[in-house]
């Protein structure tokens, strides 16, 4: 399928422009509510997350204490042994070293004694323990969360798939398949990433900021306030640059999309581009777009690369400010050296989460936009409920007894849109084994009747009786079990040829599959394939010609052995020889079954018990070939233009 390339070809290095959700909090609440069965795990993960951040935050302070022990040892050794601390301090004052005296007096120094290695070992041991614990907690948190998120996403994907099975056909016919596919694939993917990474990282960032801020204020309120001054600076830098780079990434995204489209259609229409002499203009067009993409991407790339050096400058500014002020306070004995170092550590840990938080918020936003689309889909109206069991049971018995393929439509009315009447008061009686031909110009809506017969759509008025039983007393599956379909759209799924033929009757034996294939003239073809019936049909079934595909769908209908058949005679892109096979197989399949045929062949309409003539979606005439011709109405003119052309040679 050639469609918009946006979904398939994501620009490698950039991110899509951020989408906003309609109702962020509502969607988030609904999403979190889905985690309820795992709430114990979620709470434990939260607890572990808090514990992990707390221990990580405690680390620098403990390391700071270790530095103090070292520093005190260094200073202590410089003082004469035997003195008390007070003596040493007053000696320093006497020498005019007032600042150092103040510093020493605030320290826990024993003159003459070197570094207390036992105490140092203890502090470092504690630091190692705290760091290990932090890592262990973080591991526990991510491990638990991975389980929770993956289970939740498993459930969500499952619900979406179940929803697909319960939606009315109307939904599929009124929504572009591409849109639906993008929702069930891209949006769920995006949501998984958001939950897995975005949420826990955002939580980690917020907790870290809070914890670090707390420690900073505890160590030194003044230094904390001073270094907080640099935060607005960091924010301004991030926001200023990030906003611009967001804009450029958006432009880059758009340009990549349109350039990829150009490449896609130029290469797909390669022959036309050549023979229609379009190589030069197309190349000029490409060069212009390539140039614009280059401009946008280097700008985006550059701007996102600016953030890091800018933030480093802010961080170093912060460092110097803390060093100057901290140095002064250490010298005045108001703060220990270890605390200053711890403080520097904290201020470094502080800038990281701040720069990341913007990106994480964006991620969350786009995740919620995706979640919203998925939830909207899950909220779509489903098919009306099936009949109540007791009525059903009686009717089913009746249906089962007389399962012969008699069908009766009584005063049926139907419209797709409330204000556009299509089928009004239509009645038709089809005896078992009879053929009904549906004819009409291309695009006249011949499938509407098929939709009602197989109960893809429910009728608005009147009733349809299958072997005497009202459709409404049967489940949809019971109705459909009576039908077999061979449509022009030869849908096969990605599996073996055997499984595709046995699609309507799982568990069919190999002999039955081969017999059905033989009846559909496709057995020989399949056996000639390298892997025979085990040959895999790939995604687009591109390894099999359209004629063979059609034969396979006929074989599929043979094996399902329905009492009523719906058949589309149209064959496109089928060569003459295969066409003969297809027609013969279709004729065999119809033998002994009630058939509704979307007719393209003269012989079919001549032999049909009833012809239903459709135009602009409406049933305009019905009757036998001769009587319809006699009326000189729409059928007559249709016959002369569409069928008589081929018949001219008769």
């Amino acid at each position: 399928m050639i469609g918009r390339p946006a979904g398939r070809m994501r620009p490698g290095a950039s991110a899509a422009p951020v989408e906003r959700s309609r109702d962020f909090w509502g969607t988030l609440r609904r999403l979190l509510a889905r985690l309820r069965p795992d709430r114990l795990r979620v709470v434990s993960a939260l607890g572990l997350g808090v514990a992990s951040v707390a221990s990580a935050v405690a680390g620098p302070k403990i390391i700071g204490n270790a530095t103090n022990i070292l520093f005190e040892g260094v200073v202590g050794r410089m003082l004469a042994p035997g003195e008390t601390k007070a003596q040493a301090v007053s000696a320093l004052r006497a020498h005019g070293e007032r600042q150092i005296a103040a510093m020493v007096s605030a320290m826990n120094v024993t003159p003459g004694k070197g570094v207390d290695l036992a105490a140092l070992g203890l502090a470092l041991g504690a630091a190692a323990g705290v760091y290990l614990a932090s890592s262990a907690f973080q591991f526990g948190q991510t491990y638990l969360l991975a389980g929770v998120v993956q289970r939740a996403m498993y459930g969500l994907r499952r619900e979406v798939e179940e929803k697909l099975a319960r939606l009315p056909l109307r939904y599929f016919d009124s929504h572009p398949h591409g849109e639906l596919l993008s929702m069930v694939t891209n949006d769920i993917d995006n949501l998984t990433t958001t939950l897995q990474q975005g949420l826990s990282q955002l939580l980690g960032s917020v907790l870290t900021i809070l914890g670090v801020l707390g420690m900073m204020f505890w160590l030194s309120p003044i230094l904390a306030i001073v270094s907080l001054v640099t935060i607005p600076l960091a924010l301004v830098v991030t926001l200023l640059v990030a906003r611009r780079s967001q804009v450029q990434f958006g432009v880059q995204w758009d340009q990549t999309g349109s350039l990829n489209s150009l490449v896609e259609e130029t290469h797909t229409g390669h022959v036309l581009v050549q023979v229609f002499g379009r190589r030069r203009p197309t190349t000029e067009d490409f060069d212009g777009q390539n140039r614009r993409l280059y401009e946008a991407s280097y700008r985006a790339q550059f701007l996102s690369g600016v953030i890091q050096p800018a933030m480093q400058f802010v961080a170093n500014l912060n460092y110097v400010v803390i060093a100057v002020l901290g140095g002064y306070r250490v010298a005045s004995g108001l703060l220990s050296l270890g605390d200053v170092q711890a403080f520097i550590q904290y201020s470094r840990q502080f800038t990281m989460p701040i720069t990341q938080i913007a990106g994480q918020m964006n991620m969350l936003q786009s995740g919620m936009a995706s979640a919203e689309r998925v939830f909207d889909f899950l909220d779509e109206d489903e098919e009306p409920p099936e009949p109540a069991p007791p009525a059903k049971a009686a009717a089913r018995r009746a249906a089962h007894d007389g399962r012969r393929g008699a069908l009766r439509l009584e005063h049926v009315s139907f419209r797709y849109e409330a204000d556009k009447p299509l089928i009004e008061d239509f009645s038709l009686d089809v005896a078992p084994g009879e053929t009904v031909a549906i004819v009409g110009p291309t695009g006249a809506g011949k499938t509407t009747l098929v939709n009602l017969l197989v109960r893809f759509y429910e009728i608005d008025a009147g009733r349809i009786l299958l072997d005497g039983v009202d459709y409404r007393d049967l489940t949809r599956d019971e109705v459909r079990a009576a039908f077999g379909m061979v449509l022009q759209d030869t849908w096969l799924f990605g599996g073996s040829i055997r499984d595709n033929i046995a699609y309507g009757r799982p568990g069919a034996t190999a002999a039955e599959v081969a017999a059905a294939a033989a009846a559909a003239h496709v057995d020989h073809f399949v056996r000639a394939l390298p892997h025979g019936y085990d040959t895999l049909i790939d995604g687009e079934a591109s390894n099999i010609s359209s004629g063979q595909k059609q034969l396979l769908t006929i074989a599929r209908a043979f094996l399902a052995d329905p009492s009523i058949l719906i058949l589309d005679e149209a064959t496109s892109n089928v060569d003459t020889r295969t066409e003969v096979l297809v027609q013969d197989a279709m004729a065999r399949l119809r033998r002994g079954r009630t058939s509704f045929v979307i007719a393209h062949r003269l012989s079919t309409i001549r032999d049909a018990g009833t012809i239903v003539v459709v135009d602009h979606g409406r049933i305009v005439e019905q009757g036998r070939h001769r009587e319809l011709l006699g009326r000189h109405g729409f059928y007559w003119s249709l016959y002369n233009s569409q069928f008589a052309g081929a018949g001219a040679a008769d």
């Binding site: 620009p11 490698g12 390391i63 150092i100 070197g114 140092l120 470092l124 760091y131 290990l132 932090s134 890592s135 973080q138 591991f139 991510t142 491990y143 998120v149 993956q150 994907r157 499952r158 798939e161 056909l169 639906l180 069930v184 998984t192 350039l259 489209s261 259609e265 130029t266 290469h267 797909t268 390669h270 023979v275 002499g277 190589r279 993409l293 280059y294 991407s297 790339q301 690369g305 050096p309 480093q312 400058f313 170093n316 060093a323 100057v324 250490v330 010298a331 197989v454 949809r476 039908f483 010609s545 599929r556 003459t576 066409e579 003969v580 233009s641 569409q642 052309g645 081929a646 008769d650």
Partner: protein, 577 residues
């Protein structure tokens, strides 16, 4: 492959690259010097209570930071321009090369593959170059420089480096080995789920008619469970990886403090050097981590480079002759002179000994089953393929001696698959004749039996057409494709089985209108339907690559058994009588 591609396409940027490397080296040196200064601030400033020194060194530090930042920004600017610029160059080179390729070359690669090579693969290379110019240049300088400086600050502590660095490198390598293959298989499993969902959406009617909702749900559940398991594994490995890296970093710091502390207590190391060493070891470990992680990008970039080089190395099998000849007049006379075509190495030729000619004002039809070589035959005339035997003359000159663009100018091609370009109806019709007036376009549409529906489209000639023409029906697409050829007013029309989606009545009207329109042109129609071609002036019946008969419908029904067979199967028993 990767090195050759980069060598070729980075050559125009070699001065930028040299400058980037220099700047990166400078930036790295600056970044390595900073811990030195902070050590000094502590050693001589804080410990000695020298506030003046702190302020002065702090100012130097800020100055260096500013310088390093500026250098870094310039380097990123140049690196972005270089990577995106060389990417754009490669993209343009691939695009131009694909436009030179013949249809056979296209078939060899496959169109989707060429699209991917022209877009995603180029992006991979671009990303790789960007990373290479920034991180890959920086990481080794940082590692080596860091090691040298760390040893200078505290040689006695260097054994710690010898332990921590290999541990970090080994751990990251193990994680990559454990995760990357699973990561790829996760992508395959996501694709699998998407495939199942796609099938459930496109096949919704068949699934419901055959009561297969239950088994389909199982099929989906298998894929879903499979994906969930792999995703869980990958995420759990990551759950282990990040805390472990943090633990390695933190424990290295603690170890530095412990062993360094002992050195400090023995007075064999100033306390400030310890702080500097600490900064270095962290910087080294981070660079090692980045360097090892780069290993993930390399195989992917190499694969992409190989796929790109394959296209760039592909010599077009059809090219302009060195000394082209022009025909004296353009009338659309085509002669096929004992033409044969076979794929290299194949036993059976696709076509052999085919001779016939096309003349202005005449309609010639070629009919035959699938695999009879009809389309190949038609493609030989605009040189989409070249003959392997005999020759094709257009207006008296062998097509291989004519300039391609000039040859194509006289041809109106309607290919089998009607493809439209995104734009408007008018922009599509003007594809081969940009100067066509609106009146001419409407005329072409009328002949092609397309004026009614185009007039009914919102905007008429300016109505939007989606890429591929997916917003109009197959029959409309075919008629627009015919109108597009007509708007070109060529001397020679080539219709490749392009009436298949039309109903018989439209087909008949179209053929009648065409005949009147193309009185001065030659016309070749390739078809499978007898009704489409039976009124042609001349019919050539192809069977298994050879001419099985030629003449008018009536003659062929009499003399050509394969033709009679086709007629009987399509028009019924009585038709051949």
């Amino acid at each position: 492959m990767l090195t050759r591609l980069l060598r070729d396409y980075l050559r125009p940027y070699r001065w930028q690259v040299a400058l980037i490397v220099t700047l990166m080296a400078g930036q790295t040196v600056g970044n390595l010097y900073l811990p030195n200064l902070s050590a000094d601030i502590i050693n001589r400033g804080v410990i000695e209570g020298n506030l003046h020194y702190i302020v002065r060194t702090g100012a130097v530090m800020l100055g260096i930071t500013l310088l390093v930042g500026t250098v870094a920004i310039v380097a990123v600017y140049l690196a972005s321009k270089t990577s995106m610029g060389s990417g754009a160059d490669i993209r343009a080179a691939v695009f131009r090369r694909v436009l030179q390729l013949s249809s056979r070359d296209m078939d060899r690669f496959g169109t989707p593959s060429l699209i991917t090579r022209n877009t995603n693969d180029v992006q991979q290379i671009q990303l790789f170059v960007q990373m290479a110019l920034t991180l890959m240049v920086m990481a080794p300088i940082m590692s080596v420089g860091g090691v040298i400086l760390a040893i200078r600050e505290g040689a006695a502590l260097s054994p710690l480096l010898a332990v921590a660095v290999p541990v970090m490198a080994a751990f990251i390598a193990v994680v990559i080995v454990a995760v990357v293959p699973r990561f790829r298989s996760m992508q395959v499993k996501i694709d699998r789920i998407n495939l199942v969902l796609r099938e459930q959406i496109t096949g919704v009617r068949v699934i419901r008619a055959f009561l297969r909702n239950g088994p389909e749900a199982e099929r989906f559940d298998d894929a879903n469970l499979d994906l969930t398991r792999t995703a869980l594994y990958v995420n759990r490995v990551f759950a282990l990886a990040i805390p472990t890296v943090m633990a390695i970093l933190n424990l290295s710091s603690v170890a530095v403090l412990w062993f360094g502390g002992r050195l400090v207590s023995e007075s064999s190391m100033p306390i400030g050097n310890l702080t500097a060493f600490l900064s270095y070891i962290l910087q080294i470990l981070m660079s090692v981590m980045l360097a090892v992680m780069m290993a993930i990008l390399l195989p992917r970039a190499m694969a992409s480079a190989e796929r790109i080089e394959e296209v760039l190395d592909a010599a077009p099998s059809v090219a302009d002759p060195p000394a082209p000849r022009r025909p004296s007049r353009e009338e659309g006379v085509v002669e096929l002179d004992d033409v044969g075509f076979r794929y290299p190495g194949s036993e059976m030729p696709v076509l052999e000994h085919v001779s016939f000619s096309l003349h202005p004002g005449e309609t010639t039809a070629v009919i035959g089953g699938t695999g009879s070589g009809k389309t190949t035959l038609l493609n030989l005339i605009p040189r989409l393929f070249d003959v392997t035997e005999g020759r094709v003359l257009v207006d008296g000159v062998d097509v291989r001696e004519r300039e391609l663009e000039e040859l194509w100018r006289s041809i109106g091609l309607v290919p089998q698959a009607a493809y439209l370009f995104s734009g408007t109806v008018a922009s599509n019709l003007r594809l081969g004749n940009p100067d066509a007036s609106e009146a001419e376009l409407w005329h072409a549409l009328e002949v092609a039996q397309a004026s009614d529906f185009v007039a009914a489209m919102p905007g008429g000639l300016d109505a939007r057409i989606d890429q591929g023409g997916t917003n109009v029906s197959g029959g409309q697409r075919q008629r627009l494709s015919i109108a597009r050829a007509l708007a070109r007013r060529p001397a020679l029309y080539l219709f490749d089985d392009c009436f298949s989606a039309l109903d018989a009545a439209t087909d008949a009207r179209l053929r009648a209108a065409l005949q009147a329109e193309t009185r001065r042109s030659s016309m070749l129609i390739v078809a499978q339907r007898v009704s489409t071609i039976m009124h042609a002036d001349h019919i050539v019946v192809l069977d298994e690559g050879g001419v099985a008969g030629a003449g008018t419908h009536d003659e062929l029904v009499e003399t050509c058994p394969p033709y009679r067979e086709i007629v009987q199967s399509q028009l019924g028993e009585g038709a051949a009588a």
